[in-house]
């Protein structure tokens, strides 16, 4: 973990993230794209907390992502014009739903686990889609904007400055990444690895497998909820597509594309995926085919992801 090369790579990654608003325009991007990279990166890393470290595949994380997005949007629209409150409510909503449904979901494993997560995810999609009067239905939730943030007398004008919002998102990513890294290094994280490597053995050792899986599911969903609130704030908008299954699939893709056996891999994968999607969808109507093709090619030829590719065959 603390090899000098890895430290250098992490430092380089963070240098790039910290300076992104300065150079992204020069290479043909825009600040909002940078923010989207960070938000999606957080979502992919959150998913990978579950996928990469417990080996259980959730194909339904978009549900909690989108639920948090709606929580934030609806708080800002109906309750109070406060970004901080919106984020709080969003994360709480997503995490609570994950805690409740997670108790049912962790009863299953493998393919079954994946199917149950997908199917439960759809409930929220239909609620958002159908409950027109509150959620705005298919047209999405509009009529609200993110508000400036006040920290102990210092005002961060995320409302009008895209750059300020970028750094807010980046700060959330930094805090979340630090929290996840700490959790993974704790006895709790080691237990997750033990479950991933051999669940039966972990069970025989007296570890509470279900409780650990449930907890890691909830933690993972809490961070994906944070990403969801940021996503809503970024767009000043949210619609049912934020919680549909294809969004979940994209999260999984980002994690795999970057490399799900490495901590920062999903962030790299998200960056590549988001930029590529942005580029392709502005150049052709058939972006779905291109994205689909990427899925197929990654599965067939780069199953260990970009970072897995860099590291070579030996060390993963």
């Amino acid at each position: 973990m603390t090899q000098p090369r890895q430290l250098a790579a992490t430092a380089l990654l963070w240098a790039a993230l910290l300076t992104m608003p300065l150079w992204i325009n020069a290479i043909g991007g825009y600040t909002e794209l940078a923010s989207r990279v960070v938000v999606m990166g957080l979502a992919a890393m959150a998913l990978n907390f579950l996928l990469g470290y417990t080996g259980t595949l959730s194909f339904g994380h978009a549900a909690y992502f989108g639920l948090a997005a709606y929580g934030t949007g609806m708080t800002l629209k109906f309750l109070a014009p406060s970004t901080a409150l919106g984020m709080l409510v969003g994360v709480a909503a997503g995490t609570l739903a994950a805690a409740l449904l997670g108790a049912l979901i962790v009863r299953r494993r493998g393919v079954y686990f994946a199917m149950v997560t997908i199917a439960f995810g759809q409930v929220f999609y239909f609620i958002a889609f159908r409950w027109n009067s509150v959620t705005g239905g298919d047209d999405g939730l509009t009529g609200w904007r993110r508000q400036p943030l006040d920290f102990a007398g210092i005002r961060l004008d995320v409302q009008n400055s895209d750059t300020a919002f970028y750094y807010l998102a980046l700060a959330c990513l930094a805090v979340s990444a630090a929290a996840m890294a700490m959790l993974l290094r704790s006895p709790f994280g080691r237990t997750l690895l033990a479950i991933r490597e051999n669940e039966r053995r972990a069970r025989f050792l007296g570890l509470a497998v279900e409780r650990h899986l449930w907890l890691s599911f909830v933690i993972s969903c809490a961070f994906v909820s944070l990403a969801g609130t940021l996503y809503a704030l970024l767009n000043n908008f949210t619609d049912p597509r934020a919680l549909r299954w294809d969004m979940s699939g994209n999260f999984v893709m980002m994690a795999v594309l970057g490399g799900m056996r490495s901590f920062w891999g999903p962030l790299i994968g998200a960056a590549v995926f988001v930029v590529l999607q942005d580029y392709v969808s502005s150049h052709t109507e058939n972006w779905m085919s291109v994205v689909g093709l990427i899925f197929v090619l990654v599965v067939l030829f780069f199953p260990r992801g970009l970072l897995g590719l860099l590291r070579g065959r030996g060390s993963a």
Partner: protein
Amino acid sequence: MTQLILFNVFNGLITGAFYALMALGLSLILNLSGVINFAHGGFLALGAYLAYSLMPFVGFWGALLIAPLLTAALGLVVERLLIRRVYGRDPLYSLLLTFGLAYILEDLVRYVWGAQSLPYPIPGVLTQPLSRQFFFLTGYRLFMVALVALAVTALFLILGRTRLGMRIRAGTLDLETVGALGVNVRVLRNLNFGLGIYLAGLAGVLAAGMLGLQPTIGTSLIMPSFVAIIVGGLGSLPGTLLGGLLIGVASGLATVYLPSASEAIIYVMMGLVLLVRPRGLLGEEGRLQ
């Protein structure tokens, strides 16, 4: 009121029959090869649109016969070239692969046939209501139910009475042993995939006649099919059939009492099943865990 309930129960049965047809194909593939075929909806849409294009040349009945076969043939090719490579790997990869395929198929349909919905003409014989009081019993609906029943019976006969079906059932339990006994497992999985895709194609043609043609026709049917499998129980085909019909009727009944919940109710049912009987109604414990 009785009529309204009857109408919606009948409607639900039809929807359930679709779910079941689709879910049976998914189940076949999942049980033998451990692959959740996300692209199933894409194949369904393809079957529907192929039938649409064939109809001017071979008529309604010809299209009904040929389109599912063509879809199945394409399924055989896709299995050979792509799906086969992820057998035995983490389910993650088969999910992502078929997910990508689903994207490609939907886009392909949109590219070839356009994004607008198209009408799917059905013969006049089948559109007449059969009785004035039960106006909803059109010939086409009865015909659909009959055809689904026929297809399901045929499927169970194939599985129960033919050598291929016997091998599929044996392979579902222990593929390695089946291979060791001299059965060509690659061919078996290929044919099994084709059989599943045939059911998707057939469901597509039938759905087209009822719902019309849209590129998203498959995606809207695939999630309920997952639910049907989970409610019925993984690894049990009769369970899948039962699950499909049950959730169909449930969403039909929900339409009477709480229309806006007609979609969400099936997920509530799934939650209940997982809570009370995690293996599903007719599922075996420990399958595909």
